[in-house]
């Protein structure tokens, strides 16, 4: 089963981190990649640019409205994601605990809807 891991973190707090602290975070992600890679379960994953770069688009009655900023203003913002193949939710929860973002932010696990089984 595929699960999407949405990593939410406080952008403002991230921006104030020192070079050393950022180095530690990158190191932690490197360690996760090192563990995840060989399993062949990593189907995808990226870090995102801050929400200051976000653009939201809504089309209503054929009319497109394009606005600056993310879909919702929240205390923690979407900062990255993984797509991982897991046996079940327990395995997914274990991977989530290993994502560094879950230690100072929140990781939301979403099972991917399998469209191939729908008739």
């Amino acid at each position: 089963m595929k699960y999407l891991f949405l990593i939410y973190e406080d952008e403002a707090a991230m921006a104030t981190k020192s070079e050393q602290e950022m180095g530690a975070i990158f190191g932690a992600y490197g360690a996760l990649e090192g563990e995840l890679g060989p399993t062949g379960k990593r189907l995808g994953g990226e870090a995102l640019q801050p929400t200051a770069t976000a653009t939201s688009v809504r089309v209503r009655n054929g009319e497109a409205s394009i606005t600056d900023g993310p879909f919702a203003e929240t205390k923690e913002q979407l900062g990255g994601f993984y797509l991982i193949e897991c046996e079940n939710l327990d395995e997914a929860i274990q991977w989530a605990q290993k994502i560094p973002g879950s230690h100072d932010g929140t990781v939301e696990i979403r099972p991917v809807l399998d469209l191939s089984n729908l008739t």
Partner: protein, 609 residues
């Protein structure tokens, strides 16, 4: 005869299904990997049993019959269901089971107990607590959705939707149907125990609802705990919880009076306690305690056991209970446990020791609206010979109590700690003190309690809407705004609140608009012109009685009448405190002493101002 036979069989069918429900359902879910299909097939099997058993007789091994029938029905359902995603796998497993003679359930004990997996799935941390409870009761308890809805006072549709939603999440998020790894077993077991204890407490804490349904919930929780003891023999906290529930439940019949009101431990008839349950609970607890360090459930069970083993309240071993609460506090720090410990210490070593412990708790925001805190502190203050300090706590506790028995108890205690108002009219003025101070920056009726207020000479309370040299009360302003302000400070005796509380009004200090709440001072009997020296410097000259206004009734119906009396001669007596003007400025705060200086000349009783 035939009819009697039919009824008997129907009863047998019901009994067998109730007893075997959890086990058969768990095994079906395991094979089918699908809650709904398992439940539907089991309910098909129930219909078949009701059809066949009356005519053919109850099968020799009813549980095995139910399992086989349900599996066959599952095969039929799978074959007819084109929409199902994983039907091939489930069908294959079922067919294998059918052809594999060894797997055929020949007797109940011979197929593996899958209920433990089911427990962990139902209580998975990815599910919300209310859903965990509902699903556990539904699958392992075999309670119907309407029964669960009734027990938790939610409507049936809401409960049905909750169960549909949780089963869908288990399926779609792929919550595994498995016993957790050893490293996670303890924490996952703790979550299961929380669910079971929540079921028990829902039935035990007589909040609301049908007494019979509540009793069944307790029985169900105990039954689930017995099952868990059997399935998880390595975890002593499981036994701790079972013992705790048995020991609590032993007091069930003694917990309420004839009117259904709760009775505290010391007021219960101990002859009504269920000795059999106590013996069993204590034995289970001892078995757990002998095998390692005690966890929170075992400690709570030990407290309960000490209460249960005392033949009368006075014989309770409070010092041991205080020690147990101390141990519990180290494992699970919480203000409520700390409160229980303070009460036990007070029972063992005297009220002063308990009060010292409560002092450190008084500022905890979690206890600000916690009735047992005020009730406990009031009792300790009273026992320590400080009735004047106990009265405000009894009043606060009373305001937070709905239970009629407890209200009657608290009102009685409050009355014993307060000077009756009748004496106040006749009595003589001596001295008193400030219980609390309040300020109301707008013309709203109620004022807010503050640590201190500033009295300004000739004007009143700094920051209060009624502060000024000329009249401020809006009704008076409308008549003549140039009149001098004789109502700068409103003082009210707390004894009025005590009297009102006993009559069922729950009024907090400041709520009916006074600036200074006094205690021990017979305000209404003061002569006009008396000067109150409050705190270090402030002096207030009393100008007259407050005239109760109709806004009182808006606060609580009937309050206006309650603060008015008539003398035997039919004259109106106003009891809602006095008004005064500030002669000398100063700061006033709770606890300040009040000294009264009588005016020169003849005594002029206070009149309405």
């Amino acid at each position: 005869m035939y009819l009697a036979g039919l009824t008997d069989t129907a009863r047998t069918v019901e009994r067998v299904f109730r007893e075997e429900h959890g086990r058969v359902l768990a095994s079906l879910i395991r094979v089918l990997g699908d809650f709904d299909l398992a439940e539907d097939s089991l309910s098909d099997a129930l219909s078949r049993a009701l059809e066949l058993w009356p005519a053919q007789g109850v099968p020799e091994r009813p549980a095995a019959w139910i399992t086989t029938t349900a599996r066959n029905r599952a095969i039929d359902r799978l074959r007819h269901d084109r929409m199902r995603r994983d039907k091939a796998g489930a069908l294959r497993r079922l067919t294998e089971l059918r052809t594999d003679a060894a797997a055929e359930p020949s007797a109940v004990g011979e197929f593996p107990d899958e209920r433990l997996r089911l427990v962990f799935t139902c209580c998975h941390p990815a599910l919300d607590r209310a859903s965990q409870v509902a699903l556990t009761l539904r699958t392992l308890g075999g309670l119907t959705t309407p029964e669960i809805a009734r027990a938790f006072l939610v409507n049936e549709t809401t409960m049905a939707q909750r169960i549909v939603r949780v089963k869908r999440k288990i399926r779609d998020a792929a919550i595994p149907y498995a016993v957790p790894d050893p490293e996670r077993l303890a924490s996952r077991t703790a979550a299961v125990l929380e669910v079971v204890y929540l079921v028990f407490n829902e039935g035990y804490a007589a909040t609301a609802g049908d007494a019979l349904v509540r009793r069944e919930l307790c029985e169900e929780a105990i039954r689930l705990a017995r099952l868990l003891v059997q399935l998880l023999p390595g975890d002593t906290e499981v036994e701790g919880l079972l013992a705790l529930m048995l020991l609590h439940d032993a007091r069930r019949d003694a917990r309420t009076d004839a009117d259904g009101q709760l009775l505290t431990l010391e007021n219960q008839d101990r002859a009504l306690w269920n000795r059999e349950r106590i013996t069993e609970g204590v034995a289970i607890l001892d078995h757990a305690l002998a095998r390692g360090s005690a966890g929170p459930y075992q400690i709570q069970a030990a407290v309960s056991a000490l209460h249960n083993q005392a033949t009368e309240a006075a014989e309770t071993d409070w010092s041991q209970i205080a020690g147990l609460y101390g141990a519990l506090l180290r494992l699970r720090p919480s203000p409520v446990v700390a409160l229980n410990r303070a009460v036990a210490v007070a029972m063992a070593d005297g009220p002063e020791r308990g009060l010292a412990l409560l002092e450190t708790l008084a500022a905890d925001p979690r206890l600000q609206a916690y009735q047992p805190f005020y009730a406990a502190r009031a009792d300790l203050l009273r026992r320590a010979g400080r009735p004047t300090d106990a009265a405000p706590d009894y009043r606060r506790a009373l305001a937070l109590t709905q239970n009629a028995t407890e209200r009657a108890y608290l009102a009685g205690r409050l009355a014993s700690c307060t000077t009756p108002l009748a004496e106040q009219h006749a009595g003589r003025v001596v001295a008193g003190r400030v219980e609390s101070v309040h300020v109301g920056p707008s013309h709203e009726f109620s004022k807010c309690e503050v640590p201190e207020i500033e009295l300004v000479a000739g004007r009143g309370v700094a920051g209060d809407a009624h502060c000024g040299e000329t009249v401020k009360h809006r009704s008076r302003v409308a008549r003549d705004p140039t009149q001098p302000n004789l109502r700068q400070v409103h003082l009210l005796h707390a004894e009025l609140f005590d009297e009102l509380a006993a009559k069922g009004f729950t009024i907090a200090d400041g709520q009916i608009g006074e600036n200074i709440t006094t205690r021990g001072l017979q305000l209404l009997a003061l002569p006009t012109g008396a000067e109150l020296h409050i705190g270090a410097t402030a002096v207030v000259r009393v100008t007259g009685l407050r005239n109760p206004c109709a806004q009182l009734d808006a606060l609580q119906h009937g309050l206006m009448a309650a603060v008015l009396d008539r003398t035997p001669a039919g004259e109106l007596v106003r009891k809602s405190g006095v008004m005064g003007v500030v002669v000398t400025a100063g700061t006033v705060s709770a606890g300040d002493a009040i000294r009264v200086e009588q005016p020169a000349g003849p005594h002029r009783p206070l009149e309405r101002v």
